[in-house]
């Protein structure tokens, strides 16, 4: 484990060597880089700005394009909350997300501990096998899932949906295992010498130390559950069971012009908190990813 998680500077430019007087070549390169980056940022963010303005535009008409809505109101937001639908979607998504995230963190922590600190047959290739297995996403077994659920009369229950989403993610286990591998061995050995049993080594020593990564996995799982549509759209059919994904899909597909403003408002309301959570979690995740690949 040559590279630890702390050895990557987070910021884009390390301000270590501050050189006030640049050579002409460097100055030119810097400004060309800046102009290109500004251009890319504008191109990348324009679609999002359009969604933002659409959410405040009460007319729902998109024949004319304005960078600022002429008569900005909260009409779309009011419409979204008036039916109460949006809150039902968020509640269902939160229920699914929290349940799955709690279960996922628990399962991931236990297996990562086993792969990182315990000795057993299958340790060497087990995780790799699971990772390869999950290259084939569950959704492709949709025929099996759908016919089994239909035969068991389990269609249109939030519980069935949660059940389908509960499966352990080998990727998360790999991520947390990489993090646990970087925890100094001496701590574990000290606990062993003090006569700690396996459960105490797990709960008292490893778990507190890898809590940051576990929190990242927890939140990423919630974000993932909010963004899932394919299983949700298959299993959940009555509007009272809709998650955010199904609700938003039904707002826009097929009846574009009618609900575009409401969709934009819903998109903005859900995107901002989810993006904020993701951005915070992603910092830790990326260093973990790079560290993991350096190691291999």
């Amino acid at each position: 484990m040559a590279v630890t998680h702390h050895s990557f500077p987070q910021s884009g430019a390390a301000p270590r060597h501050r050189k006030r007087n640049l050579q002409p070549g460097q100055w030119l390169r810097l400004w060309i880089s800046r102009v290109i980056i500004w251009f890319v940022i504008i191109v990348v963010l324009i679609p999002m700005w359009f969604v933002f303005t659409a959410s405040f535009d009460p007319s729902n008409s998109y024949i004319s394009v304005s960078f600022f809505p002429a008569h900005a109101t909260f009409a779309n937001y009011r419409a979204l909350f008036q039916g109460g639908q949006f809150l039902v979607w968020v509640r269902n998504s939160l229920l699914v997300g929290l349940t799955v995230a709690i279960a996922q963190s628990f399962i991931t922590a236990l297996s990562a501990f086993a792969f990182s600190k315990l000795r057993f047959y299958g340790r060497k290739y087990g995780l790799m096998m699971l990772l390869l297995l999950q290259m084939f996403p569950n959704i492709l077994s949709i025929a099996a899932f759908y016919s089994a659920l239909a035969k068991l009369n389990m269609i249109d229950y939030l519980g069935s949906y949660i059940l389908v989403m509960l499966g352990a993610s080998a990727f998360n286990v790999w991520l947390l295992k990489g993090f646990m591998d970087s925890i100094p061995k001496e701590l574990d050995e000290a606990a062993l010498i003090d006569g700690a049993n396996t459960w105490q080594r797990f709960i008292r020593v490893q778990l507190p130390l890898c809590l940051p990564m576990l929190v990242v996995i927890f939140f990423l799982t919630i974000v993932g559950a909010f963004g899932e549509y394919l299983f949700a759209g298959t299993i959940l059919q009555s509007p009272s069971n809709y998650t955010l994904g199904v609700g938003m899909y039904n707002l826009i597909s097929g009846q574009f012009a009618k609900n575009w403003g409401e969709f934009a408002a819903a998109a903005l309301l859900s995107a901002i908190p989810l993006a904020a959570v993701f951005a915070l979690a992603q910092k830790y995740l990326t260093t973990g990813l790079v560290a993991g690949s350096v190691k291999g």
């Binding site: 999002m48 086993a114 000795r119 297995l133 084939f136 025929a143 797990f202 993701f278 992603q282």
Partner: protein
């Protein structure tokens, strides 16, 4: 030195042989049970269905039909064959373009951002990560609205501001494919950028200093110092993202729903990839048998890609610590 390493490893091996923590299987059991029930059993059930005629007509009384479904999909003289082969070709093109362009854009931006004189780079990086941070579900549905050829704001901008003709983004087969690749690159480049930036920052500065002393030009430094490191770190992540995109019909399905319709194929649209074909066959047409057969063929393809990945990059390889 070598001798020391040798004795070191053998003693570790001996220690491990002596002691196996049987309790480990207890810790693994929640993961193994859920993976068995939710991944492995469904895969075997899918394989089983693919050898039967299980569909809407035979929901309760289905029979074993052998390789019938595979023959229908793969035999070039069968009407269903124009479902599988063209979809496979488009799936490969889509996955290559989505992964390749995301990587190139991400790498280029990472190189530009990795400039020690650009002190505000963190701000740029944060802004550029936004498309990755917002869930695909929301961004792809938003793209669907923005790309609407009559009311969408993208055409509004191109036509109204720049005077270009209206582009039939989602109603013309070629443009729909272009739109899917654009939207996927838009959503995918920040991940590549972040990974490449991490790789660039992990290059020790003494390598650059040595190159400078040797009088290397900027392009030479890029070619011989920067790229090898970036390549070494990003390649193990590039192939998984290819196989991820290969199966990633979330974005495609939310953006176009597989459309526009295909005149010589009643089942699938012009932008359906194999994964969405399996999904649609099951849910829209209740052809569980064909859907399963497509999924099994896809499974074989993915297994092949994974094998290639293991063979050539050694990613995810277990290193004993």
């Amino acid at each position: 030195m070598a001798a020391v390493a040798q004795t070191g490893t053998t003693s570790v091996v001996r220690k491990r042989r002596r002691k196996v923590d049987w309790v480990a299987y207890g810790y693994l059991s929640p993961a193994l049970v859920t993976i068995c029930v939710l991944s492995i059993v469904p895969i075997f059930y899918t394989i089983y269905i693919s050898f039967t005629n299980f569909n809407q007509m035979h929901f309760t009384s289905y029979q074993f039909v052998g390789l019938q479904n595979y023959k229908e999909l793969l035999n070039p003289h069968d009407p269903l064959s124009n479902l599988f082969i063209p979809t496979l070709v488009w799936t490969i093109i889509y996955a290559l373009c989505a992964t390749g362009f995301s990587y190139l854009v991400g790498l280029a931006l990472a190189v530009l951002l990795n400039n020690k004189h650009m002190r505000e780079a963190t701000v740029y990086r944060t802004l550029l990560i936004i498309p990755w941070a917002v869930p695909t579900l929301i961004t792809m549905l938003a793209w669907q609205g923005l790309l609407n050829d009559q009311y969408g704001q993208i055409n509004g901008l191109l036509h109204g501001v720049f005077g270009l003709p209206r582009i039939p983004w989602l109603t013309n087969a070629t443009w729909a494919r272009v739109a899917i690749i654009i939207a996927n690159v838009w959503a995918g480049f920040p991940y590549m950028m972040t990974v490449c930036l991490g790789a660039l920052q992990s290059i020790p500065t003494d390598q650059y200093e040595a190159a400078e002393i040797d009088g290397a030009t900027w392009t030479q430094v890029f070619r011989y110092v920067t790229m090898p490191s970036v390549w070494r770190i990003s390649l193990p992540l590039l192939i998984p993202s290819f196989s991820f995109n290969f199966n990633n019909f979330n974005a495609t399905y939310l953006l176009t729903g597989g459309g526009p319709p295909n005149s010589n194929n009643p089942f699938l649209g012009q932008t359906d990839i194999l994964a969405s074909a399996a999904y649609k066959m099951t849910l829209s047409f209740n052809r569980y048998d064909l859907g399963s057969a497509i999924a099994v063929l896809l499974f074989i393809l993915v297994a092949f890609i994974s094998w290639l990945q293991m063979r050539y990059t050694g990613a995810f390889q277990e290193v004993d610590s």
